[in-house]
């Protein structure tokens, strides 16, 4: 999965990047299954690997790729990027080495059999308002994407 992630940010051809990203997303779906979250795994595969990546591939093929492959791939900010990533990575390493014992082992029981049902119950009861806001956000995103991509409004 990490290899897939590395490939995403290093490939010259954007299509190769997209394929590596699909591999990463599928590996992450497998991790969700290992974490007893089958519903999220299904959503990950259908929405990410199925929907968003098709969108990405469409756009990659809409914009020309022959010319961009020959150009310089990384901008002049690579030093800034490395510094930011190093700082963040150092922070993470410190947190994990110092706080390794904070996280106990996950509760081994409670492998519930109705994960989807429970998630749905929670989604439609406690998170009702957030759910509606998310649907509104999607509506706005649809309208925005259509307006942006349309040639003449």
């Amino acid at each position: 999965m990490t290899i897939g992630g590395v490939l995403v940010i290093t490939r010259k051809n954007a299509v190769h990047s997209a394929l590596a990203l699909i591999i990463t997303l599928l590996a992450q779906a497998a991790l969700y299954l290992m974490l007893y979250a089958p519903f999220v795994a299904g959503v990950q595969i259908i929405l990410y690997a199925g929907g968003i990546m098709v969108l990405f591939l469409f756009v990659i093929m809409l914009v020309s790729i022959e010319r961009t492959v020959k150009e310089r791939q990384f901008n002049k900010q690579w030093l800034v990027g490395i510094i930011a990533a190093g700082t963040l990575g150092g922070l993470f390493i410190t947190v994990y080495t110092k706080g390794k014992d904070i996280f106990p082992d996950p509760a081994l029981a409670a492998v519930e059999m109705q994960n989807t049902q429970n998630v749905g119950n929670l989604l439609y009861s406690q998170y009702m308002f957030a759910f509606e806001i998310a649907s509104l956000l999607l509506l706005v995103a649809i309208i925005g994407a259509v307006v942006m991509a349309k040639k003449r409004i």
Partner: protein, 105 residues
Amino acid sequence: MDAMLHISTSHYLVLGAALFLLGVIGVLTRRNVVIVLMSIELILNAVNLNLVAFSRLWGGLHGQVFSIFVITDAAAEAAVGLGILIAFFRNKETINVDEVNLLKW
């Protein structure tokens, strides 16, 4: 089975941190807008992994529900971002971030 049990929450957190770092490097250093957007997806996925891992750790489902909201936001962001990208490409014939200077006077 015994080896499976030894994968603790910390391992998932380290993996999530690595994914997040890769996404940050990608956003900061690449020039192709499509790949920058894909790096943002990597960052969001790292967050999702942490959310689900913590939801498993504490035995609730709230983390999973929240990760579904994050996935929704990622979908909306990808749609709008790619729409902007297409509009930009139509105007400037490039998808290079360094040449996005339409607002520069």
